[in-house]
Amino acid sequence: MLTKRIIPCLDVDHGRVVKGKKFQDIQDVADPVELGRYYSDQGADELVFYDITASYEDRDIFIHIVEKVAEAIRIPFTIGGGISKVEDFRKVLMAGADKVSVNSSAVKNPQLIREAALRFGAQCVVLSIDAKRNNQGSWDVYVKGGRENTGIDAIEWAKQGQDLGAGEICINSIDTDGVKKGYDLELNRKLSSLLTIPIIASGGAGKMEDFAEVLKVGADAALAASVFHYKEIPIVDLKNFLHNQQIPVRRV
């Protein structure tokens, strides 16, 4: 049986893991390779490393980290942040990443999804969407780290991403991100019923029940950062909890 995945997300700046709250108040936490190995040993199913480094010169530091992570861990990992061309995909895949996540750059140039999927396979293209509720009962796509509203409907964009060849959608709810009051269940339920590719829920995990709820409404994976980084929820305990809730998980 296919299990639901638990995915710690590590934001990396200048080679160090940080975590923003509502995309602000960034605080240094740990070494990405060490933390990645720790999560892997704990039973994390995948990892996401998100490069938040602003300057282009520092990109090489990040590629070096991707290589070190690939040498150190034996579970799949995704790289996101600063990917805007097919060549960027190639670089991180050759450094050992399994998947690449695109966000703002795909909104700007949707064909990037198709080109990357054709060249490297749909399995490695993750479309990451920052979505925020509007007052019409739907969700808008935001870009630039949640600062700019594009006015695009998030569900329509997710469907288009699937049609263009994305292998997976990571849906990050800006409303719930950093608040720790649970994932956006309605958004995840809608997307899971409308799409045929897997959905990763992101934004809002505060307690173990939050993971159970979003996985029960159809998300295939749940991503979180601070609850793991600050050891509020050990992954081993989370997997046992989900197992007791009859949610299929891989336990180590």
Partner: protein, 202 residues
């Protein structure tokens, strides 16, 4: 020495690194002499079936693979590399494969399932093989694929995963082996499987 066939189908270093974990020395190569001299050959691969076959032809590797398989050398395909071992694939058309194991590659089509089949799925043992020593139904491995193998003879399946159908996960016909999932990304279970692979070739 294990030859990892280099035919431009993505990053092969992860396979190389995982072989090192179990004490096997890999060489990423498309040199026929090295392939002929290797103790075993690994055919990795991600991407599209037809592109991968085109690349094997482009680098003139098919005869070398055929010769080595005929000699009885162990060849292991991983992920797309496993699918290439079959007669043909219906991925975006109809394309012939290497025909070492009779069967076809077809797309998942059950209603309501997510495609790709992505994530950790447990293995169900279908028949005995040294490949699945110390492996049981509580063991999970990492899959990512939208097409799966439909062998003519289900006895060629050593282990399968349940995902709307019985998805062949480990196949074996004599000296030809395939793993649909990624052992190099399957944590401790992947390590055990590669250890079993090592014992088979030594």
């Amino acid at each position: 020495m294990i030859a990892i066939v280099d035919y431009d189908v993505g990053n092969l270093k992860n396979v190389y690194t995982a072989l090192g974990d179990v004490g096997l020395s890999g060489t990423i190569t498309r040199d026929k002499k090295i392939l002929d001299a290797a103790d075993a050959i690994i055919l990795p691969g991600v991407g599209a079936f037809s592109d991968a076959m085109d690349n094997l032809r482009k680098f003139d590797l098919i005869d070398t693979l055929n010769d080595n398989v005929q000699k009885g050398k162990i060849l292991m395909g991983i992920c797309l590399g496993m699918q290439l071992l079959f007669d043909k694939s219906y991925e975006d058309g109809e394309f012939s494969g290497l025909s070492y194991i009779p069967g076809e590659i077809i797309k998942f089509d059950a209603p309501g399932i997510k495609i790709p089949h992505m994530g950790w799925n447990n293995l169900v043992i279908n028949r005995d093989s040294p490949l699945v020593k110390n492996i049981g139904t509580e063991d999970y491995v990492y899959f990512v694929h939208s097409y799966y193998a439909k062998p003519n003879n289900f006895d060629d399946v050593v282990a399968y995963a349940e995902y709307s159908v019985k998805v062949p996960a480990i196949v074996q016909k004599d000296n030809v082996i395939g793993m649909q999932f990624h052992p190099e990304k399957s944590s401790n279970v992947g390590f055990q499987l590669l250890t079993n692979f090592k014992e088979m070739i030594s």
